[in-house]
Structure formats: C-alpha cells, structure tokens
C-alpha cells in the first residue's frame, strides 16, 4: 500500500469516525445520554470549588 493511500485512508477514516460520533451524540442527546464526547482538560480535572472561567478570548478573522 502506497504512502498517499495510507495518509488518505487515515484522514478520511478519522473524519468519518468523528462524523459518525457526532451523529451518534446527536441521537443520544435526544435520550439525554452522551455516548462519546471530547472535553477540555479543565472539564476532566475540575474539582468542585474551582473558579468557573468564561474564556471568550477566541477570534475568527478568516472569512
């Protein structure tokens, strides 16, 4: 198998899995249960009492 084909397969496969997970999450949202999700490190390591930070410092000056 050539390198371009491997790269293409990995990229397309990863995106397909991500899209599938998105669809599954969408369906699971309807029954109020998330099957798979990504979260920030802060969400994973959050300890009750930690200050809640609203980080709105992103920007998108692209289009």
């Amino acid at each position: 198998m050539s390198v371009p084909l491997i790269v293409w397969s990995c990229t397309a496969g990863t995106l397909a899995v991500a899209a599938l997970a998105g669809v599954v999450n969408l369906v699971c949202d309807c029954v109020k249960r998330r099957w798979l999700q990504t979260g920030s490190e802060r969400e994973l390591l959050f300890i009750p009492g930690d200050p809640v930070r609203d980080d709105d410092n992103d920007y998108d000056c692209t289009e």
């Binding site: 293409w8 990504t38 998108d60 000056c61 289009e63």
Partner: protein, 265 residues
C-alpha cells in the same frame, strides 16, 4: 473592559453617551469593520448627541475622547478593548444602519442602547446552513478555475470536511493558527482524491481550490483599506494576522501535497 479618565466631572448623561460610543466602537471593530467606518459612524452618532469625538483605533483597543461641542476644555476619555467576536457583516451592517437612524431621527440614548444590545445579542447563523453554503461557494470557485464535475464534487467534500473540522476546533478554543494548519492539511489530502484514484481530468484544480475557504480575505481587504486612510498601525496589525494565517494555510497545504505525492516538490 473599559477604562475612563475624566478630565472634569462628567454628568451622568455625558458618561452614558461616552460608554455607549465606546461599546459601539468596540463591537464595530470586533465584527470586522474598517477604521474609517468606525471613525465615521462614531462621529455621526456623537454629533447627533451634541458631542465631538476624537478616536484612536489600535488593533486590540479603541480610545475615545468625548467633548461637548460648546465646551472644548472638558472631555471624557475612555479606553475599551475590542470585542472578541468572529467577523460578522450582519452586525457590521446593522450597526452602521443604527448610526444613520440615530443621526436622522434623533433617537434617544436609552433607545439606542437597547438597539445596540439587540443587534449584538442576535442569534448567530445556523451552522447547518453555513456549512453547505461554503462548500457550494468553493465548488463554484473550482468551476471558475476550469474544474470538471468530478473536481467540483471532490472540492465540495474536502471543503465540507475541512470547514466542519474548523468550526469544531474553534469551538473548543484550539489555537486559530493550529486550526488553519490542520484544516489545510485535511482539505489538501481529501482534495487530492481524484489524483489518487485517477478519476476526473482536472485533479490539480480540485486540490488548489479545496483550501480556498481558509484564505483570510477580510483581514487582507481591511488592512488595505486602513492603509489607504493612513491607519498604519491597524493596517499592519491586520496584515500581520492575515500573513500568519496564510503561512499556516500554506504549510498545511504543502504538507498535504507532499504526503499525497501531488507533484509540487
């Protein structure tokens, strides 16, 4: 955040006008307006309320000094951070329209404040509509550059995947430069599908147009406009932003082309 420096004790009404102008300028700059538009709009509103305003526009801050037309010796100076917001020409247009309505109808300040909050608090466009629209636009570019039907489909799919990834990564606060690099790589890899499988007659066009949605067109145009009106600091600030993003785009595209043996190197 807004910092104020009052040369004299400003009455509440003047303070309210100053804060309104600062918030207005901050939003206008944040949603992608040029410096000349900010100057003209803010000046138009200030005159409608019997004030004169001097504005300093910086890439991330706006400073306003609000004077009474009758009294040049007392002023209210405000420094405000530019609102962190994606480029949004709907807000831009509605804020400009608001400035004209204030000037033409003498809208009271309280009503103008309500209008401003209503405009900036509007619901964002549905991503499910934006995504196919961007893909269609890129497909049209592919056709314009001489791509065939297969190339257009490949470009559409590559754009769909890349733009979807871009919105998701930006939502998760991933650095915008990394997002551009990753999305350009993904779109380049998917854009070379017809080259890889030998389908279609214009694979190079598909590859080239699959990353066009990432080109930072508005910062480039705005920087040129600022340059024309001698707002050099803002112009170079915006140009630097655009150049950095274009470099990330190019790096992702080149890496994708190397990985796919696309023949550039």
């Amino acid at each position: 955040m807004t910092v104020r420096n009052e040369c004299a004790i400003a009455p509440d009404k003047e303070r309210a006008t100053g804060h309104f102008l600062a918030r207005y300028a901050s939003w206008l700059m944040g949603c992608g307006a040029t410096c000349i538009r900010i100057e003209k709009n803010v000046d138009r509103i200030a005159r409608a309320y019997g004030k004169r305003v001097e504005i300093t526009v910086m890439p991330r801050h706006v400073q306003l000094s609000v004077f009474d037309i009758d009294n040049e010796y007392e002023c209210l100076t405000l420094n405000t951070s530019v609102q962190a917001s994606p480029v949004d020409f709907t807000i831009n247009t509605r804020l400009s329209s608001l400035s004209w309505r204030i000037a033409d109808t003498g809208m009271p300040l309280e009503r103008a404040q309500e209008e401003l909050e209503r405009i900036v608090g509007r619901k964002k466009p549905d991503r499910r509509l934006v995504l196919p629209a961007v893909a269609l636009a890129n497909m049209a570019f592919c056709r314009l550059f001489g791509g065939d039907a297969v190339a257009m489909c490949v470009t559409g799919l590559a754009t769909l995947a890349g733009f979807w990834l871009k919105t998701h990564l930006l939502e998760r606060h991933v650095d915008v430069r990394a997002v551009f690099f990753i999305c350009a790589f993904v779109s380049a890899v998917l854009g070379s599908t017809d080259m890889l499988f030998g389908i279609g007659d214009t694979p190079a066009v598909a590859l080239g147009t699959s990353v066009l949605y990432l080109v930072p067109g508005i910062p480039l145009l705005n920087s040129f406009s600022d340059l024309l009106y001698r707002h050099y600091i803002c112009a170079f600030g915006r140009l630097a932003d655009a150049v950095v993003l274009t470099c990330c785009l190019s790096a992702g595209l080149c890496l994708g082309m190397i990985a796919m043996n696309a023949g550039m190197f």
